[in-house]
């Protein structure tokens, strides 16, 4: 018996390592989430509690620097491990559609969500959004009303924007290229440079610059602004370009995607339905995520403006996704990288 | 005046007695062979004299000066002008033959011209003058021996301590180097303390033999007396 001690221990250990993974194939739902874990995990735990379906999540790392989860989804394309992808913006969802990783699913939860926040064939559906807003320090007497404030000489050297190669900043710039056309967009970028815009590493850092008074204004996500206001910083959120003939505010919804050939399709659909519900949107609006429900009439705290009260930019996210890849070299050059 | 005096010196390591009440006087120019089996304390005597360890009790004097007493080292090794050839020779592998000899001379503040003179002189004496730029690893056992000897003698020490320096060599080389050592002693006249476990070696090298056993001196005999037996 003694001489079998080591092999027996080795087999037991191997079983302890392998078995947890084997069980995941049998039940539950696997979700890869780019939405910050602190916001997404409570929703997923609620789903577990409400439905009894175990959730096995993979969370993304710090937003500006990685798309680890996207890497995995694309790398695992031929043998998908995930059932659902919870993106924190629709461009990644579009990429998954374009890379044939997504499957079409028209969720009943998608009813009531405006059409331009959904893929027409149902490959992804938007929910709980952030708006791209101007965060302005209270010391600014005449508050800007448009993103063109970046080229306004009155704000020369006093503006900041997050690194245009990552995240929602890239998405918005690509949307502007589509909305305005290449020439006007390029001119805007040049004007920003001429107006001595500072480049920060993230929306959060931009918000901190404005909060400290080092900068007068910045384009940030609405949750960054909401958090600074909650912290009592002397700042104000302005939803830009709300006038009649103006383009409206760029909206960045979360997006949920059904993964093609995922191991648990039925459970996946139940999770998607849950995520797209008004109740989930209410929870995300009430949390520190401060996200804007896309269903109308959802209860939100005062600091979160309702979608029906925002003039939104009518962006074609599929076109934006394509444009982003196209303008990447230009943005690298613009950012000096 | 005696050059070296050990007066009632005792030393223990981790409770084990290495030397007990050891007393010895060495006159200038004398060749003293310390003979005894392994573990009898021979090496301890040399290490006490060199200044690497302090006696637990007793006094050690060199050239009329007390250098260690009752657990304290009063004079550091580099101040005692004692030369030593270790059992494993301890030639510095990263230095050439010249570098090995020069290290101590530089440390003592000897001028460059004199360093060159002394190094060349002593290496000629030990017949290693063509190996200035050679590293120890490239030398044979006998050659390394001679370099170790030269390194100790180049500093013109008051006394030379040798800790079983020939024990790793074959009989023929051993004999040859014993002869070399005696020749050098005749030429330079240094005081020698030579530790060995080999009776024949002790009788040939020393003018007197100190027999040790279990940390104490069993007896001191002149080599004439030993040869006559």
């Amino acid at each position: 018996m003694r001489k079998f001690k080591i092999p027996i221990v080795a087999v037991l250990v191997a079983a302890m390592i392998v078995l947890p993974g084997c069980s995941s194939k049998r039940a539950g739902v696997v979700v890869y989430a780019s939405e910050d874990q602190v916001f997404s995990e409570p929703i997923l735990r609620d789903f577990e509690r409400d439905t009894g379906i175990p959730v096995k999540p993979v969370f993304d790392t710090e937003e500006a620097k990685s798309t680890g989860v996207m890497n995995r989804l694309l790398a695992e394309k031929n043998n998908p491990q995930a059932d659902v992808y919870w993106a924190n913006e629709p461009i990644r969802a579009e990429v998954l559609k374009q890379e044939n990783v997504a499957a079409a699913y028209q969720s009943p939860g998608a009813e009531g969500i405006p059409a331009h926040f959904k893929d027409p064939q149902g490959y992804w559906t938007g929910f709980s959004a952030r708006a791209r807003v101007l965060l302005v320090n209270n010391s600014v007497a005449e508050k800007p009303k448009s993103i063109t404030a970046y080229s306004d000489p009155a704000f020369s050297g006093k503006t900041v924007i997050a690194n245009p190669l990552f995240g929602t900043t890239t998405t918005e710039i690509a949307a502007l290229f589509i909305l305005w056309g290449d020439e006007k967009a390029k001119t805007f970028l040049s004007d920003m440079k001429r107006n001595h815009v500072k480049i920060s590493t993230s929306n959060g850092e931009s918000a901190d610059f404005v909060a400290s008074g080092e900068s007068a204004l910045s384009l940030v996500d609405s949750d960054d602004g909401a958090n600074r206001i909650k912290q009592g910083k002397p700042v104000e959120i302005i939803y830009p370009d709300q006038g009649d003939n103006e383009s409206g505010c760029f909206i960045v919804p979360n997006a949920v995607v059904l993964i093609k050939d995922g191991p648990h399709p039925e459970a996946a659909k139940r999770l998607i339905d849950y995520l797209l519900s008004a109740e989930t949107e209410r929870k995300l609006a009430a949390s520190d995520a401060a996200q804007i429900p896309l269903h109308e009439g959802v209860e939100t705290p005062a600091i979160v403006r309702k979608i029906e009260n925002i003039k939104t930019m009518q962006a074609d996210y599929a076109a934006v996704a394509r444009k982003m890849r196209e303008i990447e070299p230009l943005l690298k050059q613009w950012a000096g990288l | 005046m005696a050059l070296i005096v050990l007066d009632c010196v005792s030393k223990a390591y981790s409770g084990q007695t290495a030397l007990h009440d050891f007393s010895l006087t060495v006159e200038p120019g004398q060749r003293v062979a310390i003979l005894g089996p392994s573990g009898c304390g021979k090496t301890t005597v040399l290490r006490l004299l060199a200044g690497f360890i302090a006696p637990d009790a007793g006094t050690i004097s060199i050239d009329g000066q007390v250098v260690a007493k009752n657990g304290k080292i009063l004079q550091q090794p580099e101040q005692r002008h004692i030369g030593m050839v270790f059992q494993d020779l301890a030639l510095w592998p990263h230095l050439t033959v010249a570098g090995n000899l020069e290290f101590g001379l530089k440390a003592q503040g000897i001028s460059k011209s004199e360093r060159i003179q002394r190094i060349n002189g002593i290496l000629q004496l030990v017949e290693m003058d063509t190996y200035l730029r050679t590293r120890p690893a490239q030398l044979s056992g006998g050659q390394q021996q001679r370099v170790a000897l030269a390194r100790a003698l180049v500093l013109r020490p008051k006394a030379l301590l040798m800790d079983e320096p020939l024990s790793n060599l074959d009989e023929e080389l051993n004999q040859h180097l014993r002869g070399e050592l005696l020749r050098l002693h005749a030429q330079l006249g240094f005081t020698l303390l030579y530790v060995t476990h080999d009776r024949a070696e002790a009788v040939e090298i020393g003018t007197c033999v100190v027999r040790m056993r279990q940390g104490s001196i069993e007896r001191i005999v002149s080599t004439e007396e030993l040869k006559s037996r």
């Binding site: 191997a14 390592i17 392998v18 078995l19 947890p20 993974g21 084997c22 194939k25 696997v30 910050d36 874990q37 602190v38 959730v55 096995k56 999540p57 993979v58 969370f59 993304d60 790392t61 710090e62 620097k65 990685s66 996207m70 890497n71 694309l74 790398a75 695992e76 031929n78 043998n79 491990q81 995930a82 890379e99 190669l165 890239t170 590493t201 982003m324 890849r325 990447e328 690298k332 | 390591y13 060199a50 690497f52 550091q76 090794p77 580099e78 004692i82 030593m84 270790f86 059992q87 301890a90 510095w92 592998p93 990263h94 290290f103 101590g104 001379l105 440390a107 003592q108 100790a152 500093l155």
Partner: protein
């Protein structure tokens, strides 16, 4: 059948499958665009100024880190190993602490320290703290964090090699020279090749470091490898970005083999009656003690204290434990398994290298070091490419994939420790056993293994530390719902409460340090028992 040869080949096969195959696949992919052979990824790499800038950043950071670690670690090692500086053992423990902490946790800690209401602000005021904070995010901060983390490697190498050089060599010098000259003329030259090896290791670690430059927003090649997907999801480009690191590793290996290996003095087991002498510092004692204390306070105590304070009250720590305990347990479990597997594989690869058991021993040595130097993200991508298939789901969809990643990345560590241990065992030991009729397996198990057991324990501990703090591999391949604590901390950094992150970091430190203290206590107890016998 030659059992020795078969066993060594089996170990080599394991290394090939776990380590080389994933990388080879990634390399093959980097040479293909849309199914056809293409060097586009490499052309793009070389053509853009950005690539050269990143390479320059990587090299610069690694070089400066290695130099600072040597300039600080060597004197500290000598002070602690060869002088009568008070509280030497305490200092050694304290200075070694950053080495066992994942580097990015130190980065987080420094960020907290220099935050507007952090520890530094209490001493230096908000304005100075803000200036210092500005320096932290960038290359100065990366150098500070990496140098304080890796300096102990050089310090410990100095102490190890100092203690095991032949004391006669120093004694021979002491007969004519003072302590400082002996140190400078004899001790340091003798240990220098060993210290340089440690510096080379530091260089490689700094070169492949991912977490710290990411957090401190400094663009280097290891980060580039990870962020290549942000715009273009380009596996080929990500692998191409890792190739310069591989080439640098080969270059370093070449220098190590030709310039250093032969010059390193063989380690001599330190014996109690034969210890190296200690230098009395005399009037320098107090000022040197003060200097070392200040350095320790700045480099070690400040960030650790900051984390401890940021973690909050006991309640806060308990809450954090409740939140991350599952990840913590998984991390400890996987690290222990990983360390055990690494010790086993490292033993055989080390044996192969030391005894030159196969003609390709140099390739094995080079291969393990190369895998160690590559960013964990490249290895992670390779693992996905190789193992994510329905037939191998029992590997890929389980924590076993993480263990595979550990084996691929860290075998060099345990292999090299084994080589160091085997160097102390004369070949005659095995030969003597052979002459009395023991076969190879018996000689290995009953003669060699017991003689190198201390090296194996040391190797296990080192492997445990590296597995526990691994982020790059785990982040890419952890099975859903099976995140490790370093990954959890990284994900929490996005909008997680600072106190929760700090408390989780402290739990990570405890998980790393406590087993080491346990082993140290066990070793001390065993030594005392041996003395009493």
């Amino acid at each position: 059948m030659n059992t020795r040869r078969v066993t060594l080949c089996a170990a080599l096969l394991v290394l090939l499958i776990l380590g080389v195959a994933p990388i080879a696949l990634m390399f093959a992919r980097s040479l293909s665009v849309n199914g056809a052979f293409s060097l586009e990824s490499y052309q793009h790499l070389l053509a853009t100024g950005r690539s050269w800038q990143l390479l320059s950043n990587s090299l610069g950071l690694a070089m400066i880190t290695a130099v600072i670690c040597t300039l600080v670690g060597l004197p500290l090692g000598l002070l602690f190993a060869k002088t009568d500086l008070p509280l030497r053992r305490v200092f050694v423990l304290l200075f070694t602490l950053p080495l066992v902490i994942p580097p990015y946790i130190m980065a987080v800690s420094w960020s907290d320290t220099l935050a507007p209401h952090g520890l530094a602000s209490s001493f230096f005021g908000p304005a100075t703290t803000q200036k210092l904070s500005g320096l932290l995010f960038g290359s100065p901060g990366c150098v500070l964090v990496l140098a304080s983390t890796f300096m102990p490697a050089v310090m410990l190498a100095t102490m190890t090699f100092t203690r095991t050089i032949n004391p006669r060599l120093e004694e021979a010098a002491r007969l004519s020279a003072r302590a400082l000259r002996v140190l400078g003329g004899i001790t340091i030259p003798l240990i220098w090749p060993g210290v340089l090896l440690a510096a080379t290791l530091v260089f490689l670690l700094a070169l492949g470091e991912f977490g710290v430059p990411t957090f401190l927003r400094y663009q280097v090649f290891a980060v580039e490898s990870f962020t290549q997907f942000t715009a273009s999801y380009n596996f080929g480009a990500a692998t191409a970005a890792a190739v310069p690191l591989a080439l640098l590793t080969f270059l370093l290996l070449g220098i190590e083999w030709f310039a250093l290996r032969e010059k390193i003095q063989p380690l001599r087991p330190a014996s109690e009656s034969d210890s190296n002498y200690h230098v009395s510092l005399r009037s320098y004692r107090v000022p040197l003690f003060a200097l070392v204390s200040i350095l320790c306070a700045i480099v070690v105590l400040t960030p650790v204290l900051s984390l401890l304070l940021q973690g909050g009250s006991t309640q806060s720590y308990l809450r954090a434990f409740r939140v991350v305990s599952d990840s913590l347990m998984r991390s400890i479990f996987l690290a222990a398994i990983g360390a055990t597997a690494l010790t086993a594989l490292g033993f055989f690869t080390g044996y192969l290298i030391h005894t030159r058991g196969l003609s390709i021993w140099r390739a094995v040595d080079a291969g393990t070091v190369l895998l160690f130097a590559l960013p964990g993200t490249v290895i992670g991508m390779g693992l996905i490419t190789l193992w994510n298939r329905p037939a191998t789901n029992f590997i890929y969809a389980t924590p076993l994939i993480i263990v595979f990643g550990y084996l691929a990345q860290y075998t060099a560590l345990t292999g090299r420790v084994t080589v160091a241990g085997l160097t102390l065992v004369p070949a005659s030991m095995e030969e003597a056993a052979a002459t009395v009729g023991a076969n190879w397996m018996r000689r290995l198990g009953l003669i060699v293994l017991p003689l190198v057991k201390h090296a194996l324990v040391a190797g296990w501990l080192i492997a445990y530390i590296f597995c526990l703090r691994d982020t790059g591999i785990a982040m890419l391949v952890y099975p859903p719902g099976y995140d490790t604590l370093p990954v959890r901390i990284f994900t929490l950094m996005a909008n997680g409460a600072p106190s929760l992150i700090a408390a989780a970091c402290m739990l990570m430190i405890a998980a790393t340090v406590l087993p080491l203290l346990g082993v140290a206590a066990l070793v001390r107890t065993q030594r005392r028992r041996r003395l009493w016998r």
